[in-house]
């Protein structure tokens, strides 16, 4: 698919030094549309959605806030810590104002794996299906998010007992 002028402008916003020091694309030379399409395909293959992934990220972030800056246990076997640094970052897609510089660290103690993401990752994934370019400091691999955060696939969701 050819990249639209609007998406081209977003890609310009993602370059180093425009909105953030390092930008959002890392060493990725692909057009933004290709990055989006490839990650979209991977998320579909796993049978889930950007929204489901972002919702789980936000849920764990919100639970982690109760730790007041320290790790806190979150069921069934997560340890979560939420840190903040000064300032905020605007979205390269425009709106919704400044997003706080908040880091969420999630340890999956059952898998012995850890992942760190920011509030802008949650926004970019949930609203735009963007996981950042390859080589970006804050690139999120969709399969890692799904595995470590234990994001339910659509199949798993339909297998849940319906007692509502």
């Amino acid at each position: 698919m050819k990249q639209s002028p609007q998406l081209q402008q977003v890609q310009e916003n993602m370059r180093p030094g425009v909105l953030t020091l390092h930008g959002f694309l890392g060493s990725d030379k692909r057009d933004l549309i290709e990055i989006l399409e490839e990650d979209e395909a991977e998320v579909r293959r796993m049978g889930t959605s950007h929204r489901a992934i972002a919702d789980k990220m936000a849920y764990l972030r919100d639970r982690g806030k109760d730790g007041l800056g320290e790790f806190i246990d979150v069921d069934p076997h997560f340890e979560v810590r939420v840190d903040s640094v000064r300032g905020g970052i605007p979205s390269p897609f425009g709106g919704p104002g400044l997003i706080p510089k908040t880091n969420t660290t999630v340890r999956n103690t059952a898998l012995q794996r850890e992942i760190v993401y920011t509030d802008i990752n949650i926004h970019l994934i949930g609203e735009h299906g963007f996981y950042e370019g390859k080589g970006s400091l804050f690139r999120m691999e969709p399969h890692e998010l799904v595995e470590i955060l234990e994001v339910e696939t659509e199949q798993q969701q339909t297998e849940l007992p319906s007692n509502r």
């Binding site: 390092h22 007041l68 800056g69 320290e70 840190d83 903040s84």
Partner: protein, 367 residues
């Protein structure tokens, strides 16, 4: 056919070269704003060369506006009031400014270029801010993710500051950044030691500055910082004091307590420090020593999730619950808080419920 193609390529190349030359000439002439005057707070005047961003222009005059991103427009901290000579708001400023700030002519100094005479307002205390060259005298682990860094000043050789203030550390180019960045850290040492500045820095995952400090910085290295900044300091009253901190939020509180001990300020102080388990707790011995020097000081560490091997017999629970259980009333009390925004917000709520007036709750939010 071939010659026509070569002529076309030659023509395009020629036009491109001509345009490049024109751009260089335009940059040197149209973009040459010559000498301009910046008036600060109505009575300080500086003749400067126009054309550069206000933040950098002021830095060349040794006036340092707080900025956590080194002028890249990604922290929104370097705001100044520009009374005259600013021109229209730039698209890169707008995300950082509220409607009220725009009405009050607040501008982002790293984005705004100095093109003509300007009149600006900055807090008077920023005239005391200087850039310091220092050497790393000591680096030691306080916990598995917090390091204490002691800097010995070289030029200027001394710093005058108030306990509780912060400085901005300049992180040089290294693997994670191809240009210097600045990050703010509270000072942990007693300001009476004017030749040294001590910081406590917690590793932030993927953080450019904290990764540098934890993985690259070593004793003997040269370092640059500027400061002091901030209005988080002990107020001169007779009220009881509640201090609450977590993690590297220990730093400014420790500075304040050391300074109190030295000056013989023996007000009642209760210091609540939150950590998850014993491995996140640090400087306990130093706090116990301060309890000996300050008879009315009590250090109350609390672990939210102690490990079995910790054999912890102290307070257990979230720091907010521990504060609530120890405080009967907030009468005649003022509070000093340092930590994550979430911790600060939760503690402010508890203190307010106990009756501590909002205007007597002072805090230094990391966020």
């Amino acid at each position: 056919m071939f010659s026509a193609l070569m002529i076309s390529v030659g023509a395009v190349t020629g036009i491109s070269a001509l345009l490049a030359v024109l751009m260089v000439i335009a940059d040197a002439t149209i973009g040459n704003y010559g000498e301009v005057k910046i008036t600060i707070n109505g009575d300080h005047e500086y003749e400067v060369k126009g054309g550069k961003p206000l933040l950098g222009t002021l830095m060349e005059q040794e006036i340092f506006i707080p900025s956590a991103c080194g002028g890249r427009g990604s922290c929104g901290l370097c705001k100044v009031k520009v009374k005259e000579g600013a021109g229209q708001f730039l698209p890169t400023e707008l995300p950082w400014l509220s409607d009220e700030e725009k009405e009050n002519n607040i501008r982002l100094s790293c984005q705004l270029k100095v093109k003509n005479d300007m009149s600006i307002e900055i807090p008077e205390e920023l005239f005391n801010v200087k850039e310091f060259q220092a050497k790393i005298a000591k680096v030691r682990d306080l916990t598995h993710d917090i390091k204490e860094v002691t800097m010995e000043l070289a030029d200027p050789p001394e710093i005058n500051m108030v306990a509780g203030q912060f400085v901005q550390l300049r992180i040089p180019e290294y693997e994670l950044t191809d240009e210097p960045v600045y990050r703010a850290y509270s000072v942990a040492s007693n300001p009476s030691d004017t030749k040294h500045v001590e910081l406590e820095i917690r590793l932030v995952p993927n953080g450019i500055a904290t990764t540098y400090v934890h993985n690259y910085l070593k004793e003997g290295d040269d370092i640059i910082f500027n400061g002091p900044y901030g209005d988080f300091f002990l107020r001169d009253t007779e009220r009881e004091i509640i201090c609450i901190a977590g993690g590297s939020g220990m730093a400014p509180i420790k500075s304040i307590l050391l300074n109190m001990a030295e000056r013989g300020i023996d007000r009642r102080v209760r210091y609540f420090f939150g950590a998850r388990s014993k491995k996140d707790l640090f400087l306990v011995d130093e706090m116990r020593r301060l309890e000996q020097e300050l008879p009315n000081f009590k250090f109350i560490p609390a672990l939210s999730n102690p490990e079995e091997e910790d054999e912890w017999e102290g307070e257990t629970g979230l720091i907010t619950d521990i504060v609530a259980s120890h405080m009967e009333t907030g009468d005649n009390t003022e509070a000093y808080l340092c930590g994550s925004p979430g911790m600060i917000d939760a503690c402010v709520k508890v203190l307010s419920e106990k009756g501590v007036p909002d205007e007597l709750i002072y805090y230094d939010k990391f966020g």
